[in-house]
Symmetry: C2
Subunit: 405 residues, 2 copies
């Protein structure tokens, strides 16, 4: 069976006329002799309205019931798409998470997929052409509806593609592919024909909001052939592929940015073992996502400074949490800085090419941009800079790395 | 287990503040030591919006997918109510039709309940206080979501009360009970403290839109103790009860009216066997609900007139259907009249008391109201009159039967 998975995000199914358009895209795939599994998101704006509704009922809505409300968004889209396909004589039906079933753990609101049963849908596809699965949702072993968290439909699509051993998984969205950087900021940004999972992962987690990070990691794990395409234009898109060992890359893939960061420095931290564990353990309790961590080396082995970044929205809870342990840790000052952003240069080339860090730091220095914090991974260099300079930094790095078209 | 079923209609759960109010009503029942099953409708207006959405996708939406869309209305309400109850420390959860499960046949959009499994909810109620079941929906043996048709939540509530042998089934709505007639037309209309199932059935099917006819029939069949109450005021409501054999009723229960009727007369129908079967068989094919049927006795056994009423909305399809068989039937003229309404006098008293028909006809005659068609049942007399006179007819009949307070 030639099986493909097509995923359509919220803007691709924003209203009924748009749903009818994607029905035609799906018909194209069917006409080419493929069996198709479609994964849909809620219509644009619906999920936010549903969240507002639950929040108006309670500041802390029961997470199991929150999922019952939120899952209706994808439920409606999948049925409307089935109706639209039936209207153009394509045999299709909707499959809700619990009907497939897509079995998850019971961490409502951020559930993890444990297993996807394939037998019913495979049987169904023998007779029919298109199975439409509601994205973002599943069912716990307790027989309750669960949701995967924001952007979870990408994860649904990749997990389904992996479970059904689909030939490919096409993610239709409102951009026409993955770019070297944000085209709204750098007008010379160019579309990549292909990118490796690892690079995409760094780009996704660094703020290139094309694909949910979790879905990319899953695609990498199961080697799912992923493509990002535009729902609105008929263009080739970007393929996300496995790294070829003999592929001697001479360039970096892209430049990502992440806004809404806050930098925190604890100065005068007494230099003794267990301090970092104490600080970051306290923050982990509140699920605060600490990103860049830098500890200055202490010269006299007495005191050091610890700097880290967090999402700006977590600033208040971080401050109160850290101040509670101030006495225990014994640091002197708690210093916050809000107007910072992170810029990352991403590319497999770093593994084999030296000089990338040098080019990055030189470019920033030539533009008088001060670097607050640096952190690196095998295929990424990130710097924290003042947000005043972010367009300048992105444009000049894009040019310096030869990414301008 | 002291188990009660409470049903809240669309206006009772119109928005979140209203849902929070009914949470308090439910808390009252819990505080009295009862276990509670709540049945909810969709928030007012939601079902209509969802219908419009499916209609915008197709003139004839797949009925199975139509049900997938429509069922989200009750799904959302039940979860919002669970959140609101949790907020005031009442242990509750939502139960969707497929979770209970409420098993129906597969006639999507107008499904019939076949069985309600009680074991899971009984087990749940041992630990918790309130089970909130989404009304109007069930699941077919094919594992697809089904809906019961408009007003189906009343039927859900009564069927659930019957299956769980509930002590009572309270239907909360936007009126405070069943009245002798429509209080918007007859200002002297008075609320009935009690009414028999049979009378309620006639009132419901004759246009007293308090309870869905089907739910009353079901309550009668299983002897469910039904009450109609206001969600908005703390008043006793109306009990719908079994007729007591020794209850010598001396009055009629109420006067119902039904607008939007159309009268059709086929004149000069050759008087031979099988003509009625031919005519009404053709109409049944299109599910046209024919109501009053009168055939004039033919004097010379040659030709007769057949008159019947239908919903005004079915006039066009009726006309085209009947004209197709005009030659076969051989009638002369197809005469339609739109400006007619039906008024019914309902009461068990008719079984034992003579003179009710006489009073009805005399009252109408005294007011110069011409009767087009008469039909009767054991506990009801209906007349079709010009719609110009309907307020006058209702007021004068209400007074003539001693129903004015």
């Amino acid at each position: 069976m030639n099986l493909v998975v097509l995923k359509f995000g919220g803007t691709s199914v924003a209203d009924v006329p748009q749903i009818k358009k994607i029905a035609l895209k799906i018909k194209n795939e069917v006409d080419q002799g493929n069996k198709v599994i479609v994964v849909v998101s809620a219509m644009a704006g619906v999920t936010n309205s549903l969240i507002d509704l639950t929040k108006s009922a309670s500041d802390k809505p029961l997470s199991s019931e929150y999922d019952v409300v939120l899952s209706t968004g994808e439920q409606v889209t999948s049925a409307l798409l089935a109706i639209s396909l039936d209207n153009i004589n394509i045999k299709a039906r909707s499959w809700l998470g619990w009907q497939v079933p897509i079995i998850t753990d019971k961490s409502h609101g951020k559930a993890i997929i444990e297993e996807i049963k394939t037998d019913q849908i495979l049987e169904f596809l023998k007779q029919s052409q298109v199975a439409i699965i509601s994205g973002f949702q599943g069912i716990s072993k307790e027989n309750r509806i669960s949701t995967l968290g924001r952007g979870g439909s990408d994860t649904s699509a990749v997990a389904i593609a992996a479970s059904f051993s689909a030939q490919r998984c096409d993610i239709y969205t409102d951009v026409d592919g993955v770019y070297t950087t944000d085209p709204r900021i750098v007008k010379n940004a160019k579309k990549l024909n292909q990118i490796t999972y690892e690079e995409m992962l760094e780009l996704a987690s660094q703020g290139a909001k094309v694909l949910q990070t979790r879905s990319v990691a899953l695609a990498m794990k199961y080697n799912v052939k992923l493509r990002v395409l535009s729902s609105f234009e008929d263009l080739p898109g970007t393929s996300i592929i496995k790294e070829e060992k003999n592929m001697e890359k001479t360039e970096i893939s892209g430049i990502a940015h992440s806004l809404n960061e806050a930098k925190i420095t604890l100065s005068g931290v007494p230099d003794k073992p267990g301090q970092a564990a104490e600080i970051f353990g306290a923050l982990a309790k509140y699920s605060i996502n600490v990103d860049m961590i830098v500890q200055s080396s202490s010269i006299n082995h007495e005191a050091t400074d610890i700097t880290f970044t967090i999402p700006e929205t977590d600033l208040m809870i971080t401050e109160s949490t850290i101040k509670k342990i101030q006495q225990k840790i014994g640091f002197k000052k708690f210093i916050t800085e809000r107007n910072v952003i992170k810029i990352s240069v991403v590319g497999n080339a770093m593994r084999t090419q030296s000089g990338i860090a040098k080019t990055m730091f030189e470019t920033l220095a030539n533009n008088n941009i001060n670097i607050h914090v640096i952190s690196t991974s095998e295929i990424k260099i990130s710097v924290l800079i003042s947000s005043d300079y972010y367009e300048l930094a992105m444009r000049s790095l894009h040019s310096a790395f030869g990414l301008d078209v």
